[in-house]
């Protein structure tokens, strides 16, 4: 079963708008949540991450909001640019173990129209 779920599957926004990507998880042991960005023909690359002790993490135009009680998080892309068009993966890990295993969601494909 999918332990990390993302919605929507795809999202189209106008340049300058805020794109909101949603993620939920089932395993209460997950405490580290990275978001990876993937462009066509490339491997995913870390964009931004958050630990479960925080409820918000900002990095430029990218912000993660985290709700531990509801096991939900979201990625907000402010002032979206055409260069942000990519697939975004929410992932989760239990840092109590040493494996570094990441469980990924299905991904959200974002298209920014200028």
């Amino acid at each position: 079963q999918q332990q990390v779920r993302q919605s929507p599957q795809s999202l189209t926004v106008w340049e300058g708008e805020t794109a909101i990507l949603n993620c939920s998880y089932e395993n209460s042991a997950f405490d580290y949540f990275p978001w990876y960005q993937q462009f066509p023909g490339e491997g995913p690359a870390l964009l931004i991450s958050i630990l479960s002790v925080s409820d918000k993490k900002e990095d430029g135009r990218f912000t993660i909001f985290f709700n531990k009680r509801e096991k939900k998080l979201s990625l907000h892309i402010a002032d979206s640019q055409p260069g942000d068009s990519a697939t975004y993966f929410c992932a989760a890990s239990d840092t109590g173990g040493l494996s570094g295993k990441l469980t990924f969601g299905e991904g959200t494909q974002v298209t920014v129209i200028s």
Partner: protein, 112 residues
């Protein structure tokens, strides 16, 4: 910046064929991972390794073997390839288990 390379970039084989996918990282990372990426499933972990000679089973290991020959090199083996193994395969490495994973460019495999 971490460098992870994969070869081949594209591979076509027939059902029952043998395939070896190669991954090399040049940053002395301890951890290496093999994922497959399929639409609707995201990335799923096949096997991973803590170091040379070590192998750990991932979440979707059936039909796959892996071997870590050196700290730099991690191989994924499909000994009897099936059409269900048609996918995009990614290798990744990290310095330690709680660190950022750096991904290679991927290998697209088609099993006819």
């Amino acid at each position: 910046e971490a460098a992870v390379t994969q070869s081949p970039r594209n591979k076509v084989t027939v059902t029952g064929g043998n395939v070896t996918l190669s991954c090399r990282q040049t940053n002395s990372h301890n951890y290496m991972y093999w994922y497959r990426q399929d639409t609707g499933h995201g990335l799923r972990l096949i096997h991973y390794s803590y170091g040379a000679g070590n192998l750990q089973i991932g979440d979707v290991p059936d039909g796959y073997k892996a071997t870590r020959t050196t700290q730099e090199d991690f191989f994924l083996l499909l000994e009897l390839a099936s059409p269900s193994q048609t996918s995009l395969y990614f290798c990744a490495s990290s310095d330690w288990g709680k660190d950022t994973q750096y991904f290679g460019p991927g290998t697209r495999l088609l099993v006819l």
